[in-house]
C-alpha cells in the first residue's frame, strides 16, 4: 500500500502530520533534540511567553494525582524578547513550524505581544492562551468570560497577520459559548483544552501541596472531558480544532480526530517519554496503513453518532 497522507493544515499552517507539542511541556524545543527528531512532528508550540520575563510561582509547583498531575508553574518564562534573541535561533534551523503561545497580564499586553512577533518570518503562528488558571491577575477572567475573550482575540487579530489560534479553558459551564465568541472575534483555529483547575492536599502537613494552592490538572485523567469538549465544539463551529488532554498514544490521538479535531497536542506525555510526539505520529501512520485509511483527514469528525 502507498503511504497514507498524514499532512493537515491549521489556519494556513501546513504540518507534515497532525501531532503538535503542547505549550509548557516541550520547553523551547531544544531540550528534546537529543531524544527525538524535531522534524518528525507537525508543529511545536513554545512555553507560554509574556511581555516581561516571569519568575513563576514558588515550589512545590507540581504534584502527581491519580492518572494525572497538577502544575502551578506560574508561567515562568524568559519573556518575549529573550525568546526571540536566545531561543528562536535554534528553532529557526529546525524545519518544523513554530507556534508561539502568548499570555498577557492585561489586554494591552496581549496586543503588544502580538505586534512584537508579527514581523518574524520564523514564527508560523500564534496560540493565544486566554485560559491560564494559575495567575490571579486577569487570566481566568479572559478564559471564562466570552466578552473578555472576544476583546483579547480581536486585539491580537488586529495586531498580527499571523495565523491565529485561541486556546480555551475547560473550566466553564458552556465551552461552545466560549468557542463561538473566539471564532466570531477572529480566531482561525481553536486549541482545547487547557488544564482543569484542581488541588492536592498533604494530609500529614495539613497544607496544600502546591505553593500556589491550586493548579492545573493534565494527563490521562482529563481525556474524557477533553474529548467531550472537542466533540461539542466541533458540531458548533467551522474552524479547525486542535485536541489536547491526556493524549498518550496514537489511539488517543485518533479518538480526538474522530471527535472532530484536525490535529492534537501532546503535553504531559512528553515528560514520560521525551520522544512521545514522534512515536505517536509514527504509530498513527501505521494505524492508517493497518486500517486502510489513505488520508488522515478522512477521519476528522468521522465519529458515527
Amino acid at each position: 500500500m502507498t503511504k497514507p497522507v498524514m499532512s493537515v493544515e491549521i489556519a494556513g499552517i501546513k504540518m507534515r502530520n497532525p501531532v503538535m507539542t503542547a505549550s509548557g511541556t516541550f520547553g523551547y524545543g531544544e531540550e528534546f533534540a537529543g531524544y527525538m527528531d524535531l522534524e518528525s512532528i507537525g508543529a511545536m508550540i513554545t512555553k507560554g511567553l509574556s511581555l516581561k520575563p516571569k519568575a513563576g510561582n514558588n515550589t512545590p509547583r507540581i504534584v502527581e494525582t491519580p492518572g494525572g498531575m497538577l502544575n502551578a508553574i506560574g508561567l515562568q518564562n524568559v519573556g518575549i524578547d529573550a525568546f526571540i534573541a536566545k531561543k528562536l535561533p535554534f528553532l529557526r534551523r529546525v524545519n518544523t513550524p513554530v507556534i508561539v503561545n502568548l499570555y498577557g497580564n492585561s489586554l494591552e499586553e496581549y496586543g503588544e505581544l502580538a505586534a512584537r512577533i508579527d514581523g518574524l518570518p520564523e514564527i508560523a503562528g500564534v496560540e493565544v492562551n486566554i485560559s491560564y488558571p494559575n495567575v490571579k491577575q486577569g487570566g481566568i477572567v479572559f478564559g471564562t468570560d466570552p466578552g473578555a475573550a472576544s476583546q483579547v482575540v480581536s486585539l491580537v487579530r488586529s495586531n498580527t497577520s499571523k495565523p491565529l489560534i485561541v486556546k480555551l479553558s475547560p473550566n466553564v459551564t458552556d465551552i461552545v459559548v466560549m468557542a463561538k465568541a473566539c471564532v466570531d472575534a477572529g480566531a482561525e483555529a481553536l486549541s482545547l483544552i487547557n488544564t482543569l483547575t484542581g488541588m492536592a492536599i498533604d494530609l500529614q502537613k495539613r497544607r496544600p501541596v502546591l505553593a500556589n494552592i491550586t493548579g492545573g490538572l493534565s494527563g490521562p485523567a482529563i481525556k474524557p472531558v477533553a474529548l467531550r469538549m472537542v466533540w461539542q465544539v466541533a458540531r458548533a463551529v467551522k474552524v479547525p480544532l486542535i485536541g489536547i488532554g491526556g493524549v498518550m498514544n496514537a489511539t488517543d490521538a485518533l479518538e480526538f480526530i474522530l471527535a472532530g479535531a484536525t490535529a492534537v497536542q501532546i503535553g504531559t506525555a512528553n515528560f514520560l517519554t521525551p520522544a512521545a510526539s514522534q512515536q505517536i505520529a509514527a504509530e498513527m501512520e501505521q494505524w492508517l496503513v493497518d486500517n486502510r485509511v489513505g488520508d488522515v483527514k478522512e477521519l476528522i469528525g468521522a465519529l458515527k453518532s
Partner: protein, 271 residues
C-alpha cells in the same frame, strides 16, 4: 537516553532501604558520579510520573548472553517513602523498567591529591558512593554519614572497602556518635587538617549547614539537591530552586534536573 531495563537484583539492605541492580546499555558506564536516572515504575498510568534516583554504582559483568560478552548494569540505593518506591521494592529479578539516564550534572572531582570530605544524610549517601570510587583514585577521602537511627546509616562497609575513612553519627546515638552529622564533622575537622573540598547530599537543613561550614572554612563545596520532578530534562520547570541572585524582581531559578542536581553551594540561595 531512554531504555528498557531488567531488574537483576533488588535487595533490602536495611529495613525500608533497597539496593537495586538493573541492566543498562554499555554507554551508561560513561555516566558521571552525581548524575541520576528517571524510572517509570509501571507501564500503567499509576504511578504516572517517573521517579528520580541517583546512580549509586555501575559496572559490567561477564555473560554469555550478550554479543560483547559483558552486560552493563547500574545500581540505585533507595528508601521506601511512598507509592512509587513501595512498588519498586516489590519488583523481582526479570521484571521490566523503563529508564531515562544519565541525567543532570555530576560532581566536579577537584584537584588530585587534595583531601576531600563527603557528607551524607540517610539515603543521601547514594550518589556519594560512585563519587568516592572515583575520588579515592587520587585523593584522601573521608566520609561523614548521618542518619536518624542505626537503620538509616547505609553501606558503610562498601565505602570502607574503597579505603574511605568513615565516621558515623546518628540522632539517637544507636550507631557512631550521637548528634547531627555536621556537628560530628566539625569536631573531627577541628582536630585534623582542613580539607580542600566538601561534597554533600542529604536533607535540605543538612545541606544548608554544610554550605555554611564550607563558607566559614572558605573551601569549595558541592551539594546534590532533591526536588519533585516531572520531566527530569528541563522542560516542565517544576523542579526549580532559587539561585544566589534570586529576588522577586530579578528571578534566578535553576532547574535541579538540568542545572543540577549537583550545585556549587555558593550558587544557591540558602534561605
Amino acid at each position: 537516553m531512554q531504555f528498557q531495563s531488567q531488574v537483576l537484583t533488588n535487595t533490602e539492605v536495611s529495613p525500608g532501604y533497597y539496593r537495586m541492580r538493573m541492566t543498562a546499555p554499555p554507554a551508561l558506564v560513561e555516566s558521571e558520579a552525581g548524575q541520576f536516572v528517571m524510572v517509570k515504575i509501571s507501564s500503567a498510568i499509576d504511578p504516572l510520573l517517573r521517579r528520580p534516583f541517583g546512580i549509586y554504582d555501575m559496572g559490567s559483568f561477564a555473560t554469555p548472553y550478550s554479543d560483547s560478552g559483558r552486560q552493563t548494569f547500574i545500581e540505585i540505593l533507595y528508601k521506601v517513602v511512598g507509592r512509587g518506591t513501595g512498588m519498586l521494592a516489590d519488583l523481582h529479578q526479570g521484571d521490566h523498567l523503563d529508564i531515562i539516564a544519565p541525567l543532570g550534572k555530576g560532581f566536579d572531582f577537584g584537584e588530585a591529591g587534595e583531601e576531600k570530605i563527603l557528607v551524607g544524610g540517610g539515603v543521601g549517601l547514594a550518589p556519594l558512593y560512585l563519587l568516592a570510587k572515583e575520588l579515592v583514585k587520587s585523593h584522601k577521602v573521608r566520609l561523614f554519614a548521618g542518619g536518624r537511627s542505626k537503620e538509616d546509616v547505609l553501606c558503610i562497609t562498601e565505602f570502607e572497602r574503597l579505603g574511605v575513612e568513615t565516621y558515623v553519627a546518628t540522632d539517637d546515638g544507636t550507631l557512631g556518635d550521637r548528634g547531627l552529622v555536621t556537628q560530628v564533622m566539625m569536631k573531627h575537622l577541628a582536630s585534623g587538617g582542613a580539607p580542600k573540598r566538601l561534597y554533600a547530599c542529604g536533607p535540605f537543613p543538612m545541606l544548608r549547614a554544610v554550605a555554611g561550614i564550607a563558607e566559614e572554612m572558605r573551601v569549595p563545596c558541592q551539594v546534590s539537591l532533591e526536588a519533585y520532578m516531572a520531566c527530569g530534562m528541563g522542560a516542565c520547570l517544576g523542579c526549580v530552586v532559587k539561585g544566589v541572585n534570586h529576588s522577586a524582581e530579578t528571578p534566578d531559578f535553576r532547574c535541579v534536573c538540568k542545572d543540577g542536581p549537583v550545585f556549587e553551594s555558593t550558587d544557591l540561595s540558602w534561605e
